[in-house]
Symmetry: C2
DNA sequence: TAGTTTTTTTGGACTTTGTCTAAAAACATT
DNA sequence: AATGTTTTTAGACAAAGTCCAAAAAAACTA
């Protein structure tokens, strides 16, 4: 356990990550604020490591950049087509439903649902 | 309608793409075989265009490269964790299920299911 | 059809995201 | 403290994709 890895862990437990989805670059910038000397490679290494250990979850973002989610429970994501905002959709039954529908023994899933969020829907009425 | 765009359309209708998921680079290489002078930017432009027009579907691949699918009907993908092979899972009811579960008026979804495919499962028994 | 306007293509530079490497530093173990 | 292992570091590198301004092609107009 190095100082750098400990920092990463604390970042993922902090409000900066709580309930949010962060890119590697956002994590890097934040980590540099707290530990200016930290290297990009270290942040990337640890992100990979933490994801492999199951401490965080890596999901593929919309624009090419991967996102990291400190909520490791299997869940889907509602993505607003307008503002790109992300909301979790935790569906306890969803996993079982997907197994049944696919007829396979699914290990995990990644689900993105496109919609228009409440506030964007209202904006659009103007 | 330019010659280049017509070529792209024909590629997506051909066996090269039928039932498969192709990266931009694979499409580019194939297009260059048929029209050597075609530019990378043109292929990328047209991929974006065709996706916007709904003629093809863009899905985010596993390794960072986006994939293009000529099957535009909403469907999910079964991805083998071992060999990375992709199988479609077309579920007519899935879309409605997802709307119901999320409680939102979903426009589209993107679904990846991780599993181990038949042949990889057998290999593993050795 | 000729001339004009609009759209598309082109090639290359550029950006973003991420990986790799070899040397240095930190860590763990005894 | 000495040793061996692991991690970090900086920078080079790579892949995937975007952006740009000039040239070419297409579409439009009269």
């Amino acid at each position: 356990m190095t100082k750098q890895k400990a920092l990463m862990l604390s970042i993922f437990r902090s409000d900066f990550c709580h309930g949010k989805h962060r890119t590697a670059d956002e994590i890097l910038a934040y980590a540099k604020d707290l530990m200016p000397g930290i290297s990009r490679a270290t942040v990337y290494n640890n992100l990979k490591e933490l994801a492999k250990e199951g401490i965080i979850r890596r999901i593929s973002g919309d624009d090419g950049a991967d996102l990291y989610d400190s909520d490791t429970a299997l869940h889907g994501h509602l993505i607003c087509s307008v503002c790109k905002g992300v909301r979790d959709v935790g569906a306890p039954r969803l996993f079982e439903d997907l197994k049944r529908i696919s007829g396979e023994d699914i290990e995990a899933y990644e689900l993105k649902l496109r919609y228009v969020c409440e506030s964007c829907r209202h904006q659009n009425l103007n």
